[in-house]
Amino acid sequence: MAHEAKSLSTPTGSAPIDVEADAIQAIGMGIAQPDDATALRREEAGADYEVALESLNQWQLAWRKFRHHRLALMGLGILASFFIIALVGPIVWPFDFNTIPQPDVIVYQGRPPSLVHPFGETGGLQRDVLNLVINGARTSLFIGFSSMALGVLIGTIVGSLAGFIGGVLDNVLMRTVDVFLSIPLLFLILVASRFFGNGNVMLIVMIFAFFSWMGIARLVRSLFLSIREREFVEAARAVGVRDRRIIFRHILPNAISPIVVSASLIVAANIISEAFVSFLGFGVNPIYPTWGNILSNALTFIPLGNWWWPFFPGLMIILTVLAVNFVGDGLRDALDPRTRA
């Protein structure tokens, strides 16, 4: 009778467990699993020829797709060259921004672009606009990227604590986010930079970071909430992995793609905010060039027809923000697991 019962079993046949069974299965997958198939065919053939079994991690896979995104590559190129210019430019370019050629001469008209001054000269102290733009790039890019980094750090910590631990802490943190989001940010930034900033770059960075982490916090929280319930996290707990390790090694790497994408958009937003705040005279101390400061200083000369003074820093802002957005777009496509080949 017992063996009668066993005959009921449908799936348990007597297929041997060996390499061939898997090889058949893997080859059956055909194009979908080329690596499997080639590896196993080689095994069957007694490994008399070597086929590289290439394994790519998530970044290598992402780069492979990013490469095919033309605009994103262009954006990356623009950003990279701006970075190089910002770092090397002040050393290479013959005009020092602290030295004013003729401090006692004040002119009412700047000079349009020429061979010596490709971006023209300013009115007033006759400074080289290219020189200002290069030095401004340092500050503006620094503010844009470091305030993003700080904001993303705060947002990730808050979001992961809220999402992973949950309960009361989640409530407290998320209501804090709500409060931050309900404040009219623009005015707060203006007031904060006037009272705490005093034109200091580091303080401006901190103010920007302090008001740009909420989106990331919400994003990270939602990612943690969903990834925490994924089976591999339970599997990790089932083998005795500590919470700390689960957060940093199992959940965070899976959440990193959306974080990177939205971080790139924050950079663009922060560069624009910096220009805006500095333009209004509430940002970085106006004696230091940032793209916003240059625009602000150019304001009075625009009616005189000095178009080159605001045009070039403005162009830099537009190019940088576009480049950052293109890179963000490329990252979104490259890191999206649904489009993974």
Binding site: Q25, D36, S55
Partner: protein, 371 residues
């Protein structure tokens, strides 16, 4: 944790052994009167409601039942992997290897997991972390529990991949889960579970997500490694065919309770509970060719609205008035260790018993196993 308090308070006798005393040396896992409830918005779900069974060292036990009958929750309670709250272990004891583990501090429990009790999950496709290589994931727990360095951890990972029949393990450890087929990934899961040579292996529907040919391979493999490593196996499944092949003892669950338990032969050939009989009848078989497959009518009752009497009463073909008011106990039947939860086996059901088991013998059960 709440478990500590409740376990200490329990003084009643659960199952065969008095509460608070360790089981015999030959028993690896002894679950007694386990009660796990979930407190959710609509009320309390008694997901596991007084479940007692034991797994001998090196033995194999199958936990069988429909979806949502409490099989997986039982396993997760044993592993203490449930989120508390919403879950609450209301009562019962779990003795593992001579220790009561529901009261263990979390830190000691963590050492037990993966090292002494390993679990194989249902979905090999989602149970592996997509951003870590297979080798990283296996060696992670080896390094965690056996305190070896990275190189040795990887060596062990390669070794355990070889054990489960994965060709070219030196290359495979460097691969990511998405580069493997479903069957391969389930092998990786098994390799992972075995890497620390656990005393108990809990397999939660290990083959449900795989196609039938791969199912057969994985089950053979599981059986082979279980026999080789002498670890005990607790197999959770809804597939009676699988348990028939794999286990010595069967525990049938319905709506959070055990409705029948006994050896595989007893339960499959002489089912004593109408629910088990229904399950067996609903299997396709060579002898029933051409006819319609029978199914148990109705669905599992809502956990918020359990029937007052026998929980199977609304679906039972042999139901009578008493079933709707009296809750049956799990009582010994037949005198060979088999137990069933049905009023038919009480004195009250005696007049009907003969009729039921005669019809069963002539129609339903015969379809599978003859008399």
């Amino acid at each position: 944790m709440t478990a500590e308090a409740t376990v200490a308070e329990i003084s009643v006798t659960i199952g065969e052994r008095p509460a608070g005393t360790a089981p015999g040396e030959d028993i690896l896992l002894d679950v007694r009167g386990l009660q796990t409830h979930f407190h959710v918005m609509d009320g309390t779900v008694r997901a596991v409601d007084g479940v007692s069974f034991s797994v001998p060292r090196g033995g194999t036990v199958g936990l069988v039942g429909e979806s949502a009958c409490g099989k997986s929750v039982t396993a997760l309670t044993i592993m203490r992997l449930l989120d508390i709250p919403p879950a609450e272990i209301v009562g019962g004891e779990v003795w593992f290897d001579g220790r009561e583990i529901l009261a263990l501090p979390e830190e000691e429990m963590r050492h037990l997991r993966g090292n002494d009790i390993a679990m194989i999950f249902q979905e090999p496709l989602t149970s592996l972390n997509p951003v870590l290589t297979v080798g990283d994931q296996i060696s992670e727990q080896v390094r965690l529990h056996l305190k070896v360095d990275k190189k040795e951890g990887l060596g062990r990972a390669i070794e355990s991949l070889r054990t489960v029949g994965i060709p070219n393990p030196e290359q495979r450890v460097k691969q990511y889960p998405h580069e493997m087929s479903g069957g391969m990934r389930q092998r990786v899961m098994i390799a992972m579970a075995l890497s620390c040579e656990p005393k108990l292996l809990i397999a939660d529907e290990p083959t449900t997500a795989l196609d039938v040919t791969i199912q057969a391979q994985i089950l053979e493999l599981l059986k082979a490694v279980q026999e080789r490593t002498k670890s005990a196996l607790m197999l959770i499944t809804h597939d009676l065919g699988v348990v028939a092949e794999m286990v010595d003892e069967i525990v049938v669950m319905y709506a959070g309770q055990i409705v029948e338990q006994g050896t595989a032969e007893q339960v499959l050939t002489r089912p004593m509970d109408p629910y088990t009989m229904g399950l067996i009848e609903s299997l396709p078989s060579v002898k029933k060719r051409g006819g319609r497959l029978s199914a148990i009518k109705g669905v599992v009752p809502s956990p918020f609205n359990l029937p007052p009497g026998c929980r199977f009463a609304p679906r039972c073909p042999y139901v009578w008035d008493a079933c709707r008011t009296t809750s049956p106990e799990l009582i010994p039947v037949g005198g060979h260790g088999q137990r069933a939860r049905c009023l038919l086996h009480t004195p009250a059901g005696a007049p009907r018993r003969a009729a039921v088991f005669d019809t069963a013998a002539s129609s339903g059960t015969t379809a599978g196993h003859g008399a």
